[in-house]
């Protein structure tokens, strides 16, 4: 559905996207992870036609973004991280306005509005001014506006920021439902790893303008779901004995053992080497919360500040 090749973008001589290659399957939900300033919003802004790229080629639904941006924009929808609507209007008036901008009118506009009201579960407050809404209600409206044009591709930029657990759950359910029922391709950015785990089929990790990982969710979770053995003072002998083994990666005072068919024999080998050389085992973690850990590992766990 989306093919990105050699995409580059710079702002004021600073490279923001560096030779991005990415494919997104039709009807999939791709979780786009990345620390602050990694290039997520820039990538989505280019895909939605809000900003231009420096170089590279993007095809969406078989159409070239350079040649047919209007047609591409009409089949996509973008739900920004910010609450991009008018607080002094009611939810209904907001939907009516944004629907009209999609060229909807009359019966069709009414139908789509009803669908979106239902999708956002907004029947009870549809005629109230948005400025009186809670954070969760505003987020649901933000998402509902993005559904007005029945998009084939939906870009969601952190759609659950600052909402309560109930609204968050409702939004995630709605996203899954839309994807399941309408086969809408969804690109989803979030800082919440559990959300990405819940909704995504594919996960891409972007950092410092480069895609550093892109794979199916299961493959990544399997990769991430390693057994971690923390040990003190392994010594060169132990490292040399374990390093050649497939599925074992040694990093400072930790050993990562991949959860694959060699897991049992690799664990046995590690404990045997430790026993022979008198290495003390501090902790063993069986893949708990490893997507987040994996993400931090991939992107280095240093703090990122927006430049």
């Amino acid at each position: 559905m989306i093919e990105i090749r050699n995409l580059c973008k710079s702002y004021h001589r600073k490279t923001v996207l560096d030779d991005i290659h990415l494919s997104v399957r039709r009807g999939s939900i791709m979780g786009l992870l990345g620390p602050n300033g990694a290039g997520k919003t820039t990538l989505i802004s280019i895909l939605t036609g809000v900003i231009g790229k420096d170089s590279g080629k993007i095809t969406i639904g078989g159409l070239d973004l350079d040649r047919e941006p209007g047609r591409i924009q009409s089949m996509c929808s973008y739900v920004p991280q910010t609450l991009a609507f008018y607080a002094r209007l009611s939810a209904c008036e907001n939907l009516e306005y944004f629907g009209s901008l999609w060229g909807l009118k009359g019966k069709k506009l009414k139908e789509r509005m009803e669908f979106c009201i239902d999708a956002g579960s907004m029947q009870a407050f549809i005629d109230k001014r948005v400025e009186t809404f809670s954070g969760g209600m505003k987020r649901r409206l933000n998402l509902a506006i993005g559904l007005l044009n029945e998009p084939e591709i939906l870009y969601l930029d952190e759609p659950t920021v600052g909402v309560d657990a109930q609204s968050r759950n409702y939004i995630l359910e709605t996203i899954r439902k839309i994807n399941r029922e309408r086969k809408t391709t969804i690109i989803y950015t979030s800082h919440y790893m559990d959300e990405i785990e819940q909704v995504s089929d594919e996960i891409a990790v972007i950092d410092e303008g480069r895609i550093i990982l892109h794979d199916g969710k299961q493959a990544i979770l399997t990769r991430a779901d390693a057994v971690l053995i923390s040990a003190g003072q392994m010594g060169e002998d132990a490292v040399k004995a374990l390093q050649p083994r497939e599925g074992i990666r040694i990093e400072k005072e930790r050993i990562h053992i991949k959860r694959d068919e060699h897991l049992s024999e690799n664990m046995a080998a590690v404990f045997a080497v430790f026993h022979d050389r008198g290495v003390r085992v501090d902790d063993v973690v069986f893949g708990q919360r490893t997507l987040e850990e994996f993400f931090l590992k991939l992107t280095n766990d240093r703090l990122r500040d927006e430049n």
């Binding site: 609507f85 008036e93 306005y97 944004f98 009118k105």
Partner: protein
Amino acid sequence: MTKLFYTLKKEFLLITRDIHAVTVLFVMPAVFIMIMSLAMRDIFDLHHTFSIDVLAVNRDTGKMSGAFLKAMEELPAFTVHLLEKDAAVEKVNEQMLSRDVKFALIIKDNFSAFVDKEKGDKEGKPLELLVDPSVNVQSQMVLRSALDGKLAKLRGDAFIDRIGGFLDSAGIDKEKLKAAEESQVEVHYIYKGGRSFKIPSAVQQSVPAWLVFSMFFIVIPLSNTFISERGQGTLMRLKSMNVSRFVLITGKMVPYLFINAIQVIVMIAIGVLVVPFLGGTALTLGDSLGGLVLIAASVSFCAISLALLIASVARTTEQATTMGGGLNIIFGALGGIMVPKFVMPGFMQDLAILSPMSWGLEGFLDIFLRNGSASDVLPESLSLCIFGGVMLMLTMILLRRQKEI
């Protein structure tokens, strides 16, 4: 068209639901017009119907004093309040103090005799003027000149009557001789720019001045909406929806053209209906509806374009309010809104031309005051449209550079 319709609807709803915008655009100028029209009434009316109250005691036993008082009452500069014939000087003084009247005229009992005789001064002066010591010499001179003038006229007429027989035999029309009373001095006010000029009344100055001022104040709601659209990512969302620049900019301009038009109607209605009800004079509108529409539309276009530029330059609503409000006040002070141009010294009148508010105000005064037509306001309208066009062009360049829309 649907897009434009709903965009206009959205903007109207946003404006009408913004209580601060409504206050700035409608309540502020309405209050200003009412206050200024009433507060400045007497100052502006110096040029029209400045009236001095005069108490009068008529002790004359003849008929001439009646004609004299009637002639004085006909002068718009004086209002004569007649006291009883036998009122003592003490009572007159008391009345002057209690009624806050600065002058009292006592017409002595020899008045008619004085008028009728050729040399009445032998019997003493026929008029006595009591003057409050706080009165300036100029005001006193004005009244004395008027009294002397009317007395001279009366004596002249009496003389003509006395020699009526001779005049008839000489074939001279007595009435024509008597009628030559009007001042033979023609007055023209000097004003920069060499245009025909009339001094406006307080309401004629206040209504167009504060109307133009308030029309330029659309910068506050317009920039607030624009900046919040930008800050909240709505502009980005709109751009991702392939909404054209034309729809976005037109969607901003047209509703404010309507808002400005409503301002024009409301402020004129206040000038025509409310100010007289409160004791001021009514606004006169002139005869050119076309001229009024032309100048109002030009001021509106100029104000909206300037507001769009400020909204594009400012990053926060605070910046927009400071920039827009400050610029408007400077334009207002410079352009004759706060202080009428005709009372400014020459160099300030020269500077006033720098303010687009001054062009708008002159246009409205052309229509309201000088009874001008659409062609008379064409120079001001063109100036406003060119200024607005330049502002709009700068806005587009800026927005394109910022990649906002």
